[in-house]
Symmetry: C2
Subunit: 325 residues, 2 copies
């Protein structure tokens, strides 16, 4: 009947007599009582929330990641505080602060590049944190993700290995986006290894959308010289390119090879099936969730990260260039 007993009945039921517990349960139901986690939280008890800040939820990639992360985290009894920063690392800092005010038990961010302030904040509050999506051995925090440089390298090697020499690239804006930057670097390295470079004027940067990519490729093919291959920074851009080419009666891969990175849902089923590099979003989300929750409940520093290897997936949008056949 006293608050203490009610509290115990919720948190340590074995300490209260079955009979009292029953009475309490009845009263709780009758009054529609819902316990106040905010009041628990100020006792240093875990809030049961984990902050997740992504650049955007709008894109296929992150949606899949958020979903799997959220599933895994809920499974383990936590709830997600979600926010998106629209590729602004300053905004990311502000959002991180806000989540700390809410006393989240842990934080997950996308990528390894973050503002000094953000890193400082997390360290200073000794907040269990994990970086998702990209992996690097020397990241300042535990990370669970793929090697985006390697992903770029794989696709660059594949395309150049097919004999392409005139290669264009289409990437989302690289600033403040280490994932895209690393992929791009990987592509360049693979081409250099074959003595190739990306031609000046054939490296395009467009917003992350089918529409933008479609427009960009149509501008490109309207010019005199055409590349024989277009390496895209992700699958959405590749879809846009393919549709742009279809629109102009150009055939993939006969006229141009087009590749993506990511292997988003649907990329396999599309016709023609997209050649890409698989970055398993679901696995990253699930594994990342496990890591952070482990760190929280064990109250131990977050353990080593996980490298989830990217994997080349050759389907039907890449082929030898026509001239070289």
């Amino acid at each position: 009947m006293s608050p203490s007993t009610v509290s115990r009945s919720f948190n340590h039921p074995e300490l209260v007599k079955a009979n009292t517990r029953k009475k309490i349960d009845a009263a709780v139901r009758r009054l529609g009582y819902i316990r106040n986690r905010a009041a628990q939280t100020i006792h240093g008890i875990r809030s049961g929330t984990i902050g997740l800040i992504v650049p955007t939820i709008d894109h296929a990639i992150f949606a899949e990641l958020v979903q799997s992360f959220s599933d895994a985290v809920e499974e383990l009894g936590f709830t997600i505080l979600l926010a998106s920063h629209g590729y602004s690392l300053d905004r990311e800092y502000a959002l991180t602060r806000k989540m700390l005010e809410h006393r989240v038990d842990g934080m997950a961010l996308i990528g390894i590049e973050h503002s000094e302030d953000t890193y400082g904040l997390l360290a200073q509050q000794s907040m269990p944190s994990v970086l998702l999506w990209n992996y690097s051995d020397d990241a300042p925090l535990t990370c669970v993700g793929s090697d985006n440089f390697e992903a770029g390298r794989l696709i660059g090697a594949h395309v150049s290995g097919l004999g392409h020499r005139d290669i264009a690239t289409l990437f989302p804006p690289l600033a403040g986006n280490d994932r895209a930057q690393l992929r791009f670097d990987g592509v360049k390295q693979a081409l250099h290894a074959k003595g190739l470079g990306v031609r000046e004027g054939w490296t395009f940067e467009t917003p992350y959308s089918v529409a933008a990519a479609k427009k960009a490729i149509q501008a490109l093919i309207a010019t005199e010289e055409r590349p024989t291959a277009v390496i895209c920074g992700n699958d959405v851009l590749a879809w846009g390119v393919i549709h742009g080419l279809m629109k102009n009666q150009l055939s993939v891969p006969d006229d141009l090879t087009v590749t993506g990175i990511g292997d988003f849902k649907g990329s396999k089923e599309f016709e023609p099936g997209l050649t890409t590099v698989r970055i398993p979003a679901r696995q990253i989300g699930a594994q990342g969730a496990k890591r952070i929750v482990d760190a929280i409940v064990a109250d131990a520093p977050v353990a080593m990260g996980d490298l989830i290897s990217p994997e080349l997936v050759v389907r039907a949008t890449s082929a030898r260039p026509r001239s070289s056949v």
Copy 2:
């Protein structure tokens, strides 16, 4: 220097001397102090969080909705507590409870169909709430969304108006999904109005994925008789159908008319452009956020809902059936 002054300096800066405020700010920075919203919350002060529960984040539609809702809500100073129930209304109830324990200031749910318990809980806690995505005049709570029945009717009328008689439908599972159910009802009504029915054995239900739709349509066209049109419950299924047909060298719309519902990002740019019904997810998200925040800050019951009309978008995947040309 006393807690009271610090508190005032944060919440009513005009009440503290500029000089003291400066000292406090310095100390705050030096110590890395972050104020504890949980402790504020127990004073009946708003928590600054809004609960959003969706069936899944994984699909294009909801991702877009979540993004726009989240953007609008952040703009207004709130943070989102996000969870997904995987189309289980019981799970939705449990998640709602959890969010109430976290003392969210408001709740947003998808669709109008929810468990008795969920509605009871929200009413009993007099929690400001809004239902997103679907609109109905006699919903138990304010809703901001489109008229999904009308969406179905529009596309049904369009397809039958083109002269199609042999029409198949491909929908996601209807149980516990009022949006899909209403669309389907709308399609049926439009066909009945023309004296048509959906043929027994030509109403398909598949999971919500390109892969599943592709598989389903390939099974269908392998049979003797083929429909001349396939009405899909959403754009993702339509994409799957189109790719399935392409795979089998069938042409859209020459061999079959294929339509979607939703007008997802990309549907316009895909080749051929998808005929569909636009349900403006961004607008719904933004408007829904506005409604709920208004209700929270005004401390008034959530006002009337908003009907955001669906709109037929005829592109290149629908045409008169060949036989009737």
